[in-house]
Amino acid sequence: MGNDPIFIDESQNYIHEPIGKVMLRKYMKNKLAVIGAVLLIVIIGCAVFAPIIAPADPSKQVLVDKLSPPGEKYVLGADNLGRDTLSRLLYGARVSLLVGFVSVAGSIFIGTVIGAVAGYYGGKLDAVLMRFVDAVISFPSLFLLITLVTIFEPSLMTLIGVFAIFGWTGTARLVRGEFLSLRSAEFVLAARTLGIRNVRIIFSHILPNAMGPIIVSATLGIGGVILGEAALSYLGLGIQPPTPSWGNMLQSAQNPQIMLGAWWYPLFPGFMILITVLAFNFVGDGLRDAFDPKISE
């Protein structure tokens, strides 16, 4: 060996600590993030178990009970068609979260692929792709949404698709930025000198390291989509009835009669949107810290 034996570090007792554990610990330090996570779990639980928890069929109308205040019969009151608000909220969570998750997953996927290719290969390809991204971004989002929603037949899938198509640009920029800096990181150069192919470098070496910002933008994006759905509902272009979503519940309450006379009715969906967006933002903040290697514990 010709190697000084003293160099073998016998005393080294490597404390094996997986990255996940380190990140979890960093995450747990952020109190708001923990609160956010708990809230999210509760909300997701509500959505998943809505059929079990919900006291009534969310589309069951008792027209005579229209706009009943919260009380014994309707815990959180009834809506303008006499449907149980609590049940609709629970089922609405399914739709709002589904739209949020799926469309963000879609936009993250598109954005990541485009951003990764642009960032890693750079040059002309990058320039062309980024011009395209610029074009889409310069198109004010709500305009784009309105146009898209009028083009496609409204349905849950359309809405999801529309949000995915509109949301990917941010991710693409972000991922491109990450890739641009990571592609000249020493560990990537190292991988290249070892003869590892580009595709593998992109997906197996760089992507896992860019995951932090991506996940953070995803969590923030979900909140954004839930709000976007509410805004579209305002323009009458949201989720198709009778499916409840928080956005269309809120929308159906924008009427002075209801806002002043049945204030509780908009309050609950509004509150749910608030809580959920808050939770996602807190979680995003926590994840940002957890993923950022520069932020020490």
Binding site: N3, F7, Y14, I196, P208
Partner: protein
């Protein structure tokens, strides 16, 4: 670039002949120019001549040290040698094959295996999301070495031992190691494909002195054991003196001087080398007289707007008229001692 001197032609020929056989790497007129983008719209306003017409050879089993100040193009040269950058011009012959023009496919079994690199930053050069085992296993797998996983595991264990790490470390992630340990991992990884040439770019600069010494010793041991050839890039003249057989001094993308280490340190020819050596703060022993220090005036010019003539003339204490206009040739001023300076024309 050979010598243009007419003195002792026979002897010189002999030397180069005898060296020819052992030559592992030959660099001819290598150039690497980067476009410089400026302003918010990033248009090209010029070129950084990061490596500008450099030629040298590396013999099998030797250590060639490359020194120079920050930004003089050391890293760029190292990276260009293994085609991390596509060279602007020139050729690099490895074992007789010009590797500058090979397609990536042919490059892989040849260069990507036989030439390896150790990077400066032990923190940045290891993928933080891959375990040690994974880091070492992947290259072997990609190159299809050692038929099965078991053999590869064997090899990994062996390597860890060679670089002085405990084999229990295999499942750990880079963040769990200290700087010195990480650099050992980096070294282990560079060895995993049984390379012939290793380019070490500032391999010890980021380490604390006491750890630095460990790594230097390790590198020396490995060279002996595996008959490795090193190109050792560093800005630390003391370290280079310690480890190298021959030393090249770079200034602004050009090779200013290249010689056997003893020649170079004892009798530097180029005024820049002289100044550089004298500027190194040295531990002086009790009563020892201060060495005479040549303090250079001014800053290193930018690599974009290189001075005309000899690039060093703006700071050179021995500047002559000719230096301002005519770039000096890189030539053999003494046997085996190359220098680019008009003083030795």
């Amino acid at each position: 670039m050979g010598s243009t001197s007419f003195l002792e032609p026979i002897q010189q020929k002999k030397i180069s002949d005898s060296r020819e056989q052992e030559t592992l790497l030959e660099v001819r007129n290598l150039k690497m120019h980067f476009p410089v983008k400026a302003g918010i719209i990033q248009r090209t306003v010029g070129h950084v001549k990061a490596v500008d017409d450099i030629s040298f050879t590396v013999k099998k089993g030797e250590t060639l040290g490359i020194v120079g100040e920050s930004g003089c193009g050391k890293s760029t040269m190292g990276r260009t040698l293994i085609r991390l950058y596509e060279p602007t011009d020139g050729s690099v012959l490895f074992g007789g094959t010009d590797i500058t023009k090979l397609p990536e496919k042919e490059l892989r079994p040849l260069i990507r295996r036989k030439i390896q690199m150790i990077f400066q930053d032990p923190y940045a050069s290891l993928n933080p999301r891959k375990s040690l085992g994974n880091l070492l296993n992947e290259p072997m797998k990609v190159h299809g070495l050692y038929g099965n996983q078991k053999e590869r595991d064997e090899k990994i264990k062996e390597l860890l031992e060679v670089v002085g790490l405990h084999s229990s470390a295999i499942n750990h992630y880079p963040h769990e190691f200290s700087g010195g340990q990480r650099q050992r991992i980096g070294i282990a990884r560079s060895l995993v494909l049984n390379p012939e040439l290793i380019i070490a770019d500032e391999a010890v600069s980021a380490l604390d002195v006491s750890i630095q010494a460990q790594i230097i010793n390790l590198l020396e041991d490995l060279q002996e054991e595996f008959n490795l050839t090193y190109i050792f890039i560093s800005h630390d003249l003391s370290v280079v003196r310690h480890i190298a057989d021959r030393v090249g001094v770079m200034y602004l993308g050009k090779m200013a001087e290249l010689a056997d280490k003893d020649d170079l340190y004892k009798e530097p020819l180029h005024p820049y080398t002289q100044a550089l050596l004298s500027a190194v703060p040295a531990i002086r022993s009790k009563g020892a007289k201060n060495r005479e220090r040549i303090v250079l005036k001014g800053d290193i010019p930018s690599a974009v707007n290189q001075p005309s003539g000899c690039v060093f003339h703006t700071r050179c204490p021995m500047k002559m008229k000719v230096c301002e206009t005519v770039p000096p040739q890189f030539q053999e001023a003494r046997p085996g001692h190359f220098v680019a300076c008009h003083l030795y024309d």
